[in-house]
Symmetry: C2
Subunit: 178 residues, 2 copies
DNA sequence: ATTAGCATGTAAACAGTTACATGATTGA
DNA sequence: TCAATCATGTAACTGTTTACATGCTAAT
Protein backbone atom coordinates (compact mmCIF):
# COMPACT_ATOMS: atom_id res chain seq x y z
CA UNK A 1 0.00 0.00 0.00
CA UNK A 2 2.91 2.37 0.55
CA UNK A 3 4.22 2.44 -3.00
CA UNK A 4 1.15 4.32 -4.17
CA UNK A 5 1.78 7.06 -1.60
CA UNK A 6 5.46 7.21 -2.44
CA UNK A 7 4.41 7.78 -6.06
CA UNK A 8 1.82 10.39 -5.07
CA UNK A 9 4.36 12.18 -2.87
CA UNK A 10 6.93 12.56 -5.65
CA UNK A 11 4.33 13.58 -8.23
CA UNK A 12 2.92 16.08 -5.73
CA UNK A 13 6.33 17.75 -5.54
CA UNK A 14 6.70 17.64 -9.32
CA UNK A 15 4.70 15.90 -12.11
CA UNK A 16 6.48 13.46 -14.37
CA UNK A 17 6.43 10.23 -16.36
CA UNK A 18 7.00 6.67 -15.15
CA UNK A 19 10.54 6.82 -16.41
CA UNK A 20 11.20 10.12 -14.63
CA UNK A 21 9.73 8.70 -11.48
CA UNK A 22 11.98 5.65 -11.56
CA UNK A 23 15.04 7.89 -11.71
CA UNK A 24 13.77 10.21 -9.02
CA UNK A 25 13.23 7.22 -6.75
CA UNK A 26 16.85 6.26 -7.26
CA UNK A 27 18.17 9.78 -6.79
CA UNK A 28 16.08 11.20 -4.00
CA UNK A 29 14.30 8.53 -1.94
CA UNK A 30 16.48 5.45 -2.39
CA UNK A 31 17.47 5.72 1.27
CA UNK A 32 13.96 4.62 2.29
CA UNK A 33 12.19 3.31 -0.78
CA UNK A 34 12.91 1.57 -4.04
CA UNK A 35 10.82 0.18 -6.84
CA UNK A 36 11.34 -1.22 -10.32
CA UNK A 37 10.00 0.47 -13.42
CA UNK A 38 7.37 -2.26 -13.78
CA UNK A 39 5.98 -1.38 -10.39
CA UNK A 40 5.88 2.31 -11.35
CA UNK A 41 3.95 1.78 -14.54
CA UNK A 42 1.47 -0.57 -12.91
CA UNK A 43 0.92 1.79 -10.01
CA UNK A 44 0.54 4.80 -12.32
CA UNK A 45 -2.12 2.98 -14.35
CA UNK A 46 -3.99 2.01 -11.21
CA UNK A 47 -3.86 5.50 -9.73
CA UNK A 48 -4.99 6.97 -13.03
CA UNK A 49 -7.91 4.49 -13.25
CA UNK A 50 -8.93 5.46 -9.72
CA UNK A 51 -8.94 9.13 -10.60
CA UNK A 52 -6.06 10.14 -8.32
CA UNK A 53 -3.83 11.12 -11.23
CA UNK A 54 -4.23 13.15 -14.41
CA UNK A 55 -2.29 12.13 -17.48
CA UNK A 56 -1.28 14.27 -20.46
CA UNK A 57 0.74 12.92 -23.35
CA UNK A 58 3.70 14.96 -24.42
CA UNK A 59 5.06 14.15 -27.88
CA UNK A 60 8.83 14.23 -28.22
CA UNK A 61 11.12 14.36 -31.20
CA UNK A 62 12.87 11.09 -31.95
CA UNK A 63 11.73 9.57 -28.66
CA UNK A 64 8.57 7.79 -27.58
CA UNK A 65 5.82 10.02 -26.23
CA UNK A 66 6.00 10.83 -22.55
CA UNK A 67 2.97 10.37 -20.36
CA UNK A 68 3.14 13.10 -17.76
CA UNK A 69 1.21 12.33 -14.59
CA UNK A 70 0.09 14.84 -11.98
CA UNK A 71 -2.17 14.72 -8.92
CA UNK A 72 -5.87 15.44 -9.18
CA UNK A 73 -7.76 17.09 -6.32
CA UNK A 74 -8.72 13.64 -5.09
CA UNK A 75 -5.13 12.49 -5.38
CA UNK A 76 -3.90 15.31 -3.18
CA UNK A 77 -6.70 14.64 -0.67
CA UNK A 78 -5.83 10.91 -0.57
CA UNK A 79 -2.17 11.69 0.05
CA UNK A 80 -2.95 14.20 2.77
CA UNK A 81 -5.28 11.75 4.52
CA UNK A 82 -2.70 8.94 4.44
CA UNK A 83 0.18 11.12 5.64
CA UNK A 84 -1.73 11.78 8.86
CA UNK A 85 -2.35 8.11 9.64
CA UNK A 86 -0.13 6.16 12.07
CA UNK A 87 2.14 3.65 10.33
CA UNK A 88 3.82 0.72 12.06
CA UNK A 89 7.62 0.47 11.83
CA UNK A 90 8.75 -1.72 8.98
CA UNK A 91 10.02 -5.22 9.71
CA UNK A 92 13.64 -5.71 8.74
CA UNK A 93 14.66 -8.49 6.33
CA UNK A 94 18.39 -8.67 5.77
CA UNK A 95 19.61 -11.83 3.96
CA UNK A 96 23.26 -11.10 4.72
CA UNK A 97 22.56 -11.31 8.43
CA UNK A 98 21.05 -14.78 7.99
CA UNK A 99 24.38 -15.77 6.49
CA UNK A 100 26.30 -14.39 9.45
CA UNK A 101 23.84 -16.05 11.79
CA UNK A 102 24.75 -19.35 10.13
CA UNK A 103 28.39 -18.20 10.26
CA UNK A 104 29.73 -21.38 11.90
CA UNK A 105 29.55 -22.85 8.38
CA UNK A 106 32.09 -20.27 7.22
CA UNK A 107 35.85 -20.23 7.52
CA UNK A 108 37.30 -17.02 8.98
CA UNK A 109 38.52 -16.14 5.51
CA UNK A 110 35.06 -16.53 3.98
CA UNK A 111 33.49 -14.50 6.76
CA UNK A 112 36.06 -11.75 6.24
CA UNK A 113 35.33 -11.59 2.52
CA UNK A 114 31.56 -11.46 3.08
CA UNK A 115 31.81 -8.67 5.65
CA UNK A 116 34.23 -6.79 3.41
CA UNK A 117 31.72 -6.91 0.53
CA UNK A 118 28.95 -5.53 2.72
CA UNK A 119 31.26 -2.84 4.04
CA UNK A 120 32.01 -1.67 0.53
CA UNK A 121 28.34 -1.60 -0.45
CA UNK A 122 27.43 0.44 2.61
CA UNK A 123 30.38 2.79 2.14
CA UNK A 124 29.15 3.42 -1.41
CA UNK A 125 25.65 4.15 -0.14
CA UNK A 126 26.98 6.50 2.52
CA UNK A 127 29.03 8.30 -0.11
CA UNK A 128 26.05 8.78 -2.41
CA UNK A 129 23.83 10.03 0.43
CA UNK A 130 26.50 12.53 1.47
CA UNK A 131 26.65 13.81 -2.09
CA UNK A 132 22.87 14.15 -2.16
CA UNK A 133 23.13 16.07 1.08
CA UNK A 134 25.66 18.48 -0.42
CA UNK A 135 23.29 19.14 -3.32
CA UNK A 136 20.44 19.87 -0.91
CA UNK A 137 22.57 22.26 1.15
CA UNK A 138 23.48 24.22 -1.96
CA UNK A 139 19.92 24.55 -3.22
CA UNK A 140 17.48 27.46 -2.85
CA UNK A 141 16.99 28.22 0.88
CA UNK A 142 13.24 28.73 0.39
CA UNK A 143 12.94 25.20 -1.05
CA UNK A 144 15.11 23.85 1.78
CA UNK A 145 12.78 25.51 4.24
CA UNK A 146 9.68 24.01 2.62
CA UNK A 147 11.08 20.48 2.50
CA UNK A 148 13.11 20.47 5.70
CA UNK A 149 11.18 17.46 7.06
CA UNK A 150 11.88 15.53 3.86
CA UNK A 151 15.53 16.36 4.38
CA UNK A 152 15.48 14.75 7.81
CA UNK A 153 14.91 11.38 6.13
CA UNK A 154 18.20 11.77 4.30
CA UNK A 155 19.98 12.58 7.54
CA UNK A 156 18.63 9.34 9.01
CA UNK A 157 19.84 7.44 5.95
CA UNK A 158 23.31 8.90 6.48
CA UNK A 159 23.37 7.99 10.17
CA UNK A 160 22.12 4.47 9.42
CA UNK A 161 24.89 3.88 6.87
CA UNK A 162 27.51 5.26 9.25
CA UNK A 163 26.28 2.75 11.83
CA UNK A 164 26.62 -0.12 9.34
CA UNK A 165 30.08 0.96 8.26
CA UNK A 166 31.32 1.32 11.83
CA UNK A 167 29.90 -2.09 12.77
CA UNK A 168 31.46 -3.81 9.75
CA UNK A 169 34.86 -2.18 10.38
CA UNK A 170 34.83 -3.31 14.00
CA UNK A 171 33.90 -6.84 12.95
CA UNK A 172 36.71 -6.92 10.39
CA UNK A 173 39.25 -5.88 13.02
CA UNK A 174 38.03 -8.72 15.22
CA UNK A 175 38.31 -11.23 12.40
CA UNK A 176 41.84 -10.01 11.69
CA UNK A 177 42.90 -10.58 15.28
CA UNK A 178 41.96 -14.25 15.14
CA UNK B 1 14.47 -17.03 -1.40
CA UNK B 2 15.95 -16.05 1.97
CA UNK B 3 13.16 -17.32 4.18
CA UNK B 4 14.04 -20.92 3.35
CA UNK B 5 17.63 -20.38 4.51
CA UNK B 6 16.52 -18.59 7.64
CA UNK B 7 14.40 -21.65 8.41
CA UNK B 8 17.26 -24.03 7.61
CA UNK B 9 19.65 -22.01 9.79
CA UNK B 10 17.43 -22.17 12.86
CA UNK B 11 16.63 -25.87 12.38
CA UNK B 12 20.33 -26.55 11.90
CA UNK B 13 21.02 -25.06 15.32
CA UNK B 14 18.13 -27.00 16.84
CA UNK B 15 15.27 -29.07 15.29
CA UNK B 16 11.71 -28.02 16.01
CA UNK B 17 8.13 -27.63 14.83
CA UNK B 18 6.58 -24.80 12.81
CA UNK B 19 5.18 -23.34 15.99
CA UNK B 20 8.54 -23.50 17.75
CA UNK B 21 10.15 -21.87 14.77
CA UNK B 22 7.73 -18.98 14.76
CA UNK B 23 8.59 -18.21 18.37
CA UNK B 24 12.29 -18.60 17.80
CA UNK B 25 12.08 -16.12 14.93
CA UNK B 26 10.48 -13.62 17.27
CA UNK B 27 12.93 -14.23 20.08
CA UNK B 28 16.24 -14.63 18.37
CA UNK B 29 16.30 -13.25 14.82
CA UNK B 30 13.58 -10.60 14.85
CA UNK B 31 16.29 -7.93 14.49
CA UNK B 32 16.89 -9.06 10.90
CA UNK B 33 14.05 -11.36 9.87
CA UNK B 34 10.39 -11.93 10.56
CA UNK B 35 7.76 -14.23 9.17
CA UNK B 36 4.20 -15.24 9.97
CA UNK B 37 3.26 -18.77 11.00
CA UNK B 38 1.60 -19.30 7.61
CA UNK B 39 4.90 -18.63 5.91
CA UNK B 40 6.65 -21.10 8.21
CA UNK B 41 4.25 -23.93 7.55
CA UNK B 42 4.30 -23.36 3.80
CA UNK B 43 8.09 -23.22 3.74
CA UNK B 44 8.43 -26.31 5.94
CA UNK B 45 6.18 -28.31 3.62
CA UNK B 46 8.14 -27.18 0.59
CA UNK B 47 11.52 -27.97 2.16
CA UNK B 48 10.23 -31.37 3.27
CA UNK B 49 8.92 -32.11 -0.26
CA UNK B 50 12.31 -31.18 -1.67
CA UNK B 51 14.08 -33.55 0.71
CA UNK B 52 15.96 -30.87 2.65
CA UNK B 53 14.11 -31.62 5.88
CA UNK B 54 13.19 -34.76 7.80
CA UNK B 55 9.94 -34.82 9.75
CA UNK B 56 9.03 -36.97 12.74
CA UNK B 57 5.71 -36.71 14.52
CA UNK B 58 5.83 -36.47 18.25
CA UNK B 59 2.55 -37.25 20.04
CA UNK B 60 1.77 -35.06 23.04
CA UNK B 61 -0.70 -35.39 25.88
CA UNK B 62 -3.69 -33.11 25.63
CA UNK B 63 -2.12 -31.17 22.76
CA UNK B 64 -2.00 -31.68 19.00
CA UNK B 65 0.90 -33.75 17.69
CA UNK B 66 4.09 -31.88 17.01
CA UNK B 67 5.86 -32.28 13.69
CA UNK B 68 9.55 -31.98 14.47
CA UNK B 69 11.64 -30.97 11.49
CA UNK B 70 15.41 -31.42 11.19
CA UNK B 71 17.93 -31.00 8.37
CA UNK B 72 18.78 -33.89 6.08
CA UNK B 73 22.29 -34.26 4.64
CA UNK B 74 21.08 -32.42 1.54
CA UNK B 75 19.54 -29.72 3.69
CA UNK B 76 22.82 -29.07 5.46
CA UNK B 77 24.67 -29.06 2.13
CA UNK B 78 22.18 -26.59 0.64
CA UNK B 79 22.55 -24.25 3.62
CA UNK B 80 26.32 -24.43 3.56
CA UNK B 81 26.40 -23.68 -0.18
CA UNK B 82 24.09 -20.68 0.19
CA UNK B 83 25.92 -19.21 3.18
CA UNK B 84 29.05 -18.90 1.04
CA UNK B 85 27.35 -17.02 -1.79
CA UNK B 86 27.50 -13.21 -2.04
CA UNK B 87 24.20 -11.51 -1.20
CA UNK B 88 23.32 -7.96 -2.22
CA UNK B 89 22.36 -5.55 0.56
CA UNK B 90 18.63 -5.39 1.14
CA UNK B 91 16.68 -2.42 -0.19
CA UNK B 92 15.03 -0.39 2.54
CA UNK B 93 11.29 0.25 2.53
CA UNK B 94 10.13 2.45 5.37
CA UNK B 95 6.54 3.78 5.03
CA UNK B 96 6.97 6.24 7.90
CA UNK B 97 9.73 8.02 6.00
CA UNK B 98 7.42 8.50 3.01
CA UNK B 99 5.11 10.30 5.40
CA UNK B 100 7.90 12.55 6.61
CA UNK B 101 8.98 13.12 3.03
CA UNK B 102 5.46 14.40 2.36
CA UNK B 103 5.69 16.27 5.66
CA UNK B 104 4.66 19.66 4.26
CA UNK B 105 1.11 18.24 4.45
CA UNK B 106 1.46 17.95 8.23
CA UNK B 107 1.10 20.54 10.96
CA UNK B 108 4.02 20.72 13.40
CA UNK B 109 1.79 19.09 15.98
CA UNK B 110 0.98 16.15 13.70
CA UNK B 111 4.63 15.71 12.77
CA UNK B 112 5.58 15.72 16.45
CA UNK B 113 3.03 13.03 17.27
CA UNK B 114 4.16 10.84 14.38
CA UNK B 115 7.85 11.10 15.30
CA UNK B 116 7.00 10.45 18.95
CA UNK B 117 5.18 7.23 18.01
CA UNK B 118 8.16 5.99 16.00
CA UNK B 119 10.52 6.92 18.81
CA UNK B 120 8.54 4.80 21.23
CA UNK B 121 8.47 1.81 18.88
CA UNK B 122 12.21 1.98 18.34
CA UNK B 123 12.89 2.44 22.06
CA UNK B 124 10.87 -0.72 22.70
CA UNK B 125 12.86 -2.62 20.09
CA UNK B 126 16.15 -1.38 21.54
CA UNK B 127 15.03 -2.44 24.99
CA UNK B 128 14.13 -5.96 23.84
CA UNK B 129 17.41 -6.37 21.95
CA UNK B 130 19.37 -5.28 25.02
CA UNK B 131 17.52 -7.87 27.06
CA UNK B 132 18.34 -10.54 24.49
CA UNK B 133 21.95 -9.45 24.68
CA UNK B 134 21.98 -9.85 28.45
CA UNK B 135 20.66 -13.38 28.07
CA UNK B 136 23.40 -14.21 25.56
CA UNK B 137 26.13 -12.81 27.81
CA UNK B 138 24.94 -14.99 30.69
CA UNK B 139 24.83 -18.19 28.65
CA UNK B 140 27.40 -20.99 28.41
CA UNK B 141 30.76 -19.54 27.20
CA UNK B 142 31.34 -22.50 24.87
CA UNK B 143 28.03 -21.80 23.11
CA UNK B 144 28.88 -18.08 22.97
CA UNK B 145 32.18 -18.99 21.39
CA UNK B 146 30.53 -21.21 18.77
CA UNK B 147 27.90 -18.64 17.80
CA UNK B 148 29.91 -15.45 18.20
CA UNK B 149 29.29 -14.41 14.58
CA UNK B 150 25.53 -14.88 15.06
CA UNK B 151 25.85 -12.62 18.10
CA UNK B 152 27.35 -9.87 15.95
CA UNK B 153 24.01 -9.53 14.16
CA UNK B 154 22.34 -8.67 17.45
CA UNK B 155 24.99 -6.02 18.14
CA UNK B 156 24.19 -4.45 14.77
CA UNK B 157 20.48 -4.50 15.62
CA UNK B 158 21.25 -2.67 18.86
CA UNK B 159 23.41 -0.04 17.12
CA UNK B 160 20.75 0.47 14.43
CA UNK B 161 18.03 1.08 17.00
CA UNK B 162 20.25 3.47 18.94
CA UNK B 163 20.75 5.41 15.72
CA UNK B 164 16.99 5.62 15.13
CA UNK B 165 16.31 6.70 18.70
CA UNK B 166 18.98 9.39 18.62
CA UNK B 167 17.71 10.70 15.28
CA UNK B 168 14.09 10.83 16.47
CA UNK B 169 15.06 12.60 19.71
CA UNK B 170 17.04 15.22 17.81
CA UNK B 171 14.12 15.76 15.44
CA UNK B 172 11.69 16.15 18.33
CA UNK B 173 13.90 18.81 19.94
CA UNK B 174 13.90 20.67 16.65
CA UNK B 175 10.13 20.48 16.36
CA UNK B 176 9.79 21.74 19.90
CA UNK B 177 11.92 24.80 19.16
CA UNK B 178 9.57 25.89 16.38
C1' DA C 1 29.33 -2.43 -34.27
C1' DT C 2 28.18 -2.12 -29.56
C1' DT C 3 26.73 -0.18 -25.36
C1' DA C 4 24.09 3.07 -22.69
C1' DG C 5 20.14 5.80 -22.13
C1' DC C 6 15.21 7.06 -23.20
C1' DA C 7 10.43 5.31 -22.89
C1' DT C 8 6.73 1.98 -22.22
C1' DG C 9 4.79 -2.16 -21.55
C1' DT C 10 3.15 -7.81 -20.65
C1' DA C 11 3.46 -12.27 -18.23
C1' DA C 12 4.85 -15.44 -14.95
C1' DA C 13 6.83 -16.65 -10.73
C1' DC C 14 7.76 -15.83 -6.09
C1' DA C 15 7.04 -13.74 -1.47
C1' DG C 16 4.20 -11.88 2.10
C1' DT C 17 -0.26 -10.51 4.45
C1' DT C 18 -4.94 -11.11 6.04
C1' DA C 19 -8.82 -13.65 7.00
C1' DC C 20 -10.80 -17.83 8.24
C1' DA C 21 -10.91 -22.50 10.52
C1' DT C 22 -10.31 -26.08 14.22
C1' DG C 23 -9.70 -27.76 18.86
C1' DA C 24 -7.48 -28.64 23.25
C1' DT C 25 -5.46 -26.63 27.86
C1' DT C 26 -4.40 -23.21 31.36
C1' DG C 27 -4.92 -19.22 34.14
C1' DA C 28 -7.52 -14.89 35.57
C1' DT D 1 -16.50 -17.19 31.06
C1' DC D 2 -13.00 -15.11 28.59
C1' DA D 3 -8.48 -14.60 26.93
C1' DA D 4 -4.07 -16.56 26.07
C1' DT D 5 -1.12 -20.29 24.56
C1' DC D 6 -0.31 -24.50 22.04
C1' DA D 7 -0.52 -26.49 17.30
C1' DT D 8 -1.63 -26.82 12.39
C1' DG D 9 -3.60 -25.65 8.41
C1' DT D 10 -6.46 -23.46 3.72
C1' DA D 11 -7.73 -19.64 0.61
C1' DA D 12 -7.62 -15.28 -1.31
C1' DC D 13 -5.29 -11.34 -2.03
C1' DT D 14 -1.54 -8.01 -2.53
C1' DG D 15 3.10 -6.86 -3.50
C1' DT D 16 7.71 -7.67 -5.65
C1' DT D 17 11.02 -9.60 -8.80
C1' DT D 18 12.56 -11.51 -13.11
C1' DA D 19 12.30 -12.29 -17.79
C1' DC D 20 10.81 -10.91 -22.10
C1' DA D 21 9.53 -7.38 -25.72
C1' DT D 22 9.87 -3.13 -28.70
C1' DG D 23 12.23 0.67 -30.88
C1' DC D 24 14.68 4.98 -31.21
C1' DT D 25 19.10 8.14 -30.29
C1' DA D 26 23.81 9.28 -28.93
C1' DA D 27 28.28 8.28 -27.86
C1' DT D 28 32.45 5.13 -28.09
Amino acid sequence: MSLRYAVLTLLDIEPGSGYDLKRRFERSVSHFWSASHQQMYRELHKLHDEGLLDCTEQPQEGKPDKKIYSLTERGRAALQAWVQQPTPAQKIREPFLIQLFAGHHLTDEQARAAVQRQLEEHRALLHSYLEQNERVLQSDPAVQERYWLAHQTLLLGIEAEKTWVAWAERLLRRLDQQ
